[in-house]
Symmetry: C2
Subunit: 195 residues, 2 copies
C-alpha cells in the first residue's frame, strides 16, 4: 500500500519532535511506522536525509495551513497572533510538552552540517515569514515594518517552544504571546492611523 510512505513520514515527524534528527534512528522510524527497512529505502532511496527533507517539507506545509486557518477565523491580525500562541500553549500542555515543531528542533542541529536539510528548513521558515508579512501588509503596514514583525513572530514562537518545553511550562508560551500580541496591536493601530 502507498500509505506506508505516509506512515513513515508521520512516524519520523513524531520522533523528530522529541529527539531531533541525530537522536532518531532508522530502526525507531520503521518500528513507529510499522514498516520494514526494505520499504523505507524503497520510498526514500536517499536515506535519512531524503526522509528528513520530506518531513520538514510536509510539517512546514501543515503548520502553514494551520496558520491560515487560524488567521481566517480571526477578525484581526492581533487576534490571529493571540490565537496562534494560545493554541501552541494548549497543544504543548495536552501533549505533555512533546508536541513541538519538528522543524525548529531539527534546524539548529543540521544548519552547519547538512546543507540540503538546512535549505529545506530555510525554505519553510521563509514561507512562514512571507505569509505573515502578507497579512500585516493588508493591515496597511510598510513592507519593511511588516517583514520585521513577521520575522519576529516566527522567531518568538520558535524560541517560546524551546523555553516552554524545557521548563515544561506553557505559561512561557503565553507570556511570549502576550508580548507579541501587544506588539502587533501597536503596529497595526499605527499603520491604520498614520502620524
Amino acid at each position: 500500500m502507498a500509505d506506508t510512505r505516509d506512515r513513515l513520514v508521520a512516524a519520523t515527524a513524531a520522533l523528530f519532535q522529541r529527539q531531533g534528527f541525530n537522536g532518531t534512528s532508522m530502526k525507531q522510524v520503521t518500528d513507529g511506522a510499522e514498516a520494514t527497512t526494505g520499504s523505507l529505502y524503497h520510498f526514500f532511496p536517499g536515506g535519512k536525509d531524503e526522509l528528513a527533507a520530506e518531513v520538514i517539507k510536509t510539517a512546514g506545509a501543515g503548520y502553514l495551513e494551520l496558520f491560515q486557518v487560524v488567521t481566517a477565523a480571526a477578525t484581526s491580525s492581533t487576534e490571529a497572533i493571540a490565537l496562534l500562541f494560545d493554541g501552541a500553549a494548549i497543544t504543548l500542555e495536552q501533549s505533555d510538552f512533546v508536541d513541538a515543531c519538528p522543524i525548529f528542533t531539527v534546524a539548529l542541529e543540521v544548519a552547519s552540517v547538512d546543507e540540503s536539510l538546512r535549505l529545506a528548513c530555510q525554505t519553510v521558515f521563509a514561507t512562514w515569514v512571507a505569509t505573515a508579512t502578507t497579512m500585516f501588509r493588508e493591515d496597511g503596514m510598510s513592507p519593511t515594518a511588516a517583514d520585521d514583525l513577521a520575522t519576529t513572530i516566527v522567531a518568538a514562537i520558535g524560541g517560546a517552544f524551546t523555553l516552554a518545553r524545557t521548563a515544561r511550562d506553557a505559561d512561557l508560551m503565553r507570556a511570549t504571546g502576550r508580548s507579541m500580541t501587544a506588539l502587533v496591536a501597536a503596529a497595526t493601530t499605527k499603520a491604520i492611523t498614520p502620524p
Copy 2:
C-alpha cells in the same frame, strides 16, 4: 594538567554549537580537546551526560556575564537590548553562522529524552529571564510585565538564532532586534509615565 578539563568543556561547547548533543561524538570531543578517552572519563565519570551538563552550565554563566557587561555599558534597557541583538548578529556573521548558543541547540533535542540535561537547560534559561526581569523592574515595570518582557526577549533571541543560522542571514537577527527594542522602549516609557 588541570586545564585538560577546561579544554574538554570548551571543545564540547564548540561542537554542540554546530552539531548539537546527539550529533557530537566523544571521539570528536577528545580530538578537539587534544585529550584522550582516559582523561575524559577521569574528569567526567558520568560520561557524555555529565560533560554536557557542565557545558550547559558554563556556557549559561558565560552568556549571563556577557549580558551583564552589555547592560552595564548601556544607558537604558532599550539600548541594552539593541546592543544585545546587534552583538549577536555580528557574532553570527564573523563566525560564518556557526557561533550560536549551544544551549538553545541542545535544549530541544534533550527536553523529552534526558531529564538531567533538561533541568540544566531550564536552570540556565530561568537565570537569564530572572536577570532581565530585574533590569526591567528597575525601570519601574510591574512584576508581571517585566517577567513577560524578559521571557519574550530570551525566546526571541533564541528563535532569531535559529532563523538567522538556518538562512545564513544575520539581518533576521537584526529585524528581531528592532522589534524587541521597540517593545522595550514602549514598555519602559509607559512604566516611567503611568496613565
